[in-house]
Amino acid sequence: MADRRRLRLFRGTRERGELKEYQVAAGEGWVVLDAVHAIQAEQAPDLAVRWNCKAGKCGSCSAEINGRPRLMCMTRLSDYPADETITVMPMKAFPVIKDLVTDVSWNYEVNKRIPAFKPRAPDAPDGTWRMYQYEVERPQEFRKCIECFLCQDVCHVLRAHAKHAEFMGPAFLVRAAVYEMHPLDEEDRRSYLRTAGGIGYCNITKCCTEVCPESITITDNAIIPLKERVVDANYDPLAALWRKLTG
């Protein structure tokens, strides 16, 4: 049942690299990661690729497949015509370490700087809280984030303008939203989001939402409400009047 498939993979480091073509005998139902593994096992044992769960739950195998940021483990070969060569590149918004592996350490630094969760005093004498399903559902959506960083990769603020020093990126706006919209949280992250977080850089093009493998509505449900909170905290009546006059 094996089909011959052609893949072109980026091979190289941050200094230099090239696309190299491989052919594999693909089994039924194979995903791109299966093909990459087959190439690694049989033709190129030093081919660098990250992966863990192979079930779309850990967010390790992010790459750009035919130009689109995707998880290799959730992209079936059969999504592409049989005669099409599938090109796999490392994420562009981060420096290449080797082949398909990029240096994503910046993301972990960003996360560390987000002010930590701070719960209100417990509701019950036994030290527990009461929260209702309708209250937790909103932040639960953001908790689906698997830290694949595909939204960071596609975000033009990071990808095209390399504003890594000034903008935390959609992934960590989502993380901040977990805590900001957490029913128990009492920390105020608005000034952090406006300054070090650089939330103003986001001009809601929604590319992040489009590539999220977990279908988190990043822009509408996380970023825009955060922007509104930040604006509320920094409400300037003169600017508001100016906006009204100029439409």
Binding site: E42, A48, M74, M131, E147
Partner: protein, 598 residues
Amino acid sequence: MASADIRTHDYDVLVIGAGGAGLRAAIEASAQKARVALVCKSLLGKAHTVMAEGGAAAALGNVMEEDNWRVHFRDTMRGGKMHNNWRMAQIHAQEAPDRIRELEAWGALFDRTPDGRINQRPFGGHTYSRLAHVGDRTGLEMIRVLQDKAVHAGLDVHMECTIVRLFVGGGRVAGALGYLRETGRFVLFRTGAIVLATGGIGKAWQITSNSWEYTGDGHALAYEAGAELIDMEFVQFHPTGMVWPPGVRGILVTEGVRGEGGVLKNAAGERFMFRYMPDMFKGDFADTEAEADAWVKGDRKKNRRPPELLTRDVVAKAIVKEIQEGRGSPHGGVFLDIASKQSPDYIKQKLPSMYHQFKELAHVDITTDAMEIGPTTHYVMGGVKVDAETQESTVAGLFAVGEVGGGMHGANRLGGNSLSDLLVFGRRAGLHAAAKRGAPPSIPDAEVEATMRDALAPFEHEGGENPFAVQSALQAVMQRSAGIIRDKSGLETALTELEKLKGRARKVGITGSREYNPGWHTAMDLRSLLVVSEATARAALERTESRGAHTRSDYPDSDERQAREHIVIKKEGDRMLVRREAQPPLPADLMQLIKEGA
């Protein structure tokens, strides 16, 4: 290779592995003001814990107030076929509720009951609804909460770092040597306390729910350092893994599907689990489909649980039997059907990632069609022999927790008891490791140099065999001869073949540089895989009975004389020694509790 090749760090506590257990241990050790390093083989937050789906078992009594630690203890012991370390099972049942509530205080967002408390779902082998959960992504929630807690605790994280050897001096831990995947450079950690939290060994089989990381590194490191392993014959084959298409074979299908009412059917459409009720559980489960359906609909006082919620060992063996007797599904599994039991909206709300997984990977809509499933290697109950209170191994200063620790789950682990195990014993290991801090014995340079030379040997073997080929041959041996059903001749064959594979593994060759070279990583992982595979095969050969997850076709019955005996594995020179050791008997009050019900 010069000493410039190596970076050296000094810590009070080194935690190896950053899944739930490692994170919880590191957080605790940090809270004790120890200088802590957390080392992980992958990126932070990618560990196997993210794949845990169903939930964490804790007798909170939020859904069914009859629940308490005694019932949880009894369920755990019966699920483990009375082979568990009773003290661990007791501590686990007693402390799990506090650990879950603590996660909430750290930001976890569990699903809620109507009155605003943590909701709990039913699961295999648990008398009452007991699993705190978040849809079917409980592990992801847990790891993210612990990850954020840890990064704000001020500990050091060394990502993509694989430890290849532990050093011991004068009978106590002195440090560990690892390599960084990115550069291929070595790192030496000098420390008097090490917590192993490296997970399991599932990559030794072909059909597995486990990732590349699960090569038994912690088991092998402990063994090489002189610690004892127990219960290595008990490997859990989860009843429900995907079977089709071949590319996804083995990927886990959560037990939550059955917890939410999913039923198992054979090719004839028969709900076969009613025919597989073990004597031990007779009377605890529904006799008829009508009773089981009423229970699923929520009438849990008057009706008993469906037989699909029997323990994993029982369900996995039943599925194998159905397939062997010709009643399997087209691709060699059986059917798991929730579509006929719950509404599409309910399924999507309670099992969103299962819905997504089947839709994307198998083009199956689980809200309308049945899934094809079959057993997949999932979890090893066996591990490093540890003290129940402290998690310390037989080597001073060396601790083991979570899947790499042995004893807690006996011959079969209940679903949901792993996530709670990680939290309860992770905290204890961190606490006691921090207490054990102190100036470590020195590590002779020559030992470090020799270890590095040995690790780099595959680069010298020009034209040597591909390590991926050897790994795949090993997986074939274990799948064939040390799988769900075993016998003497098969296990003896496995040992002979493993011996040959050891020779092949010594001669594997690597091309390319040391920078991020998966061929090299696989060559190193192979060494661990060979140790744990041999340990499993030897222990399985030694246990001449069937119990829990260990099934011998030549000894199909349980032998009560072996119930409380451990098979202990220890390194003696170059040989793997196997011996039996009696466990201390259960105290009378706990025994009574198990016999009479709680």
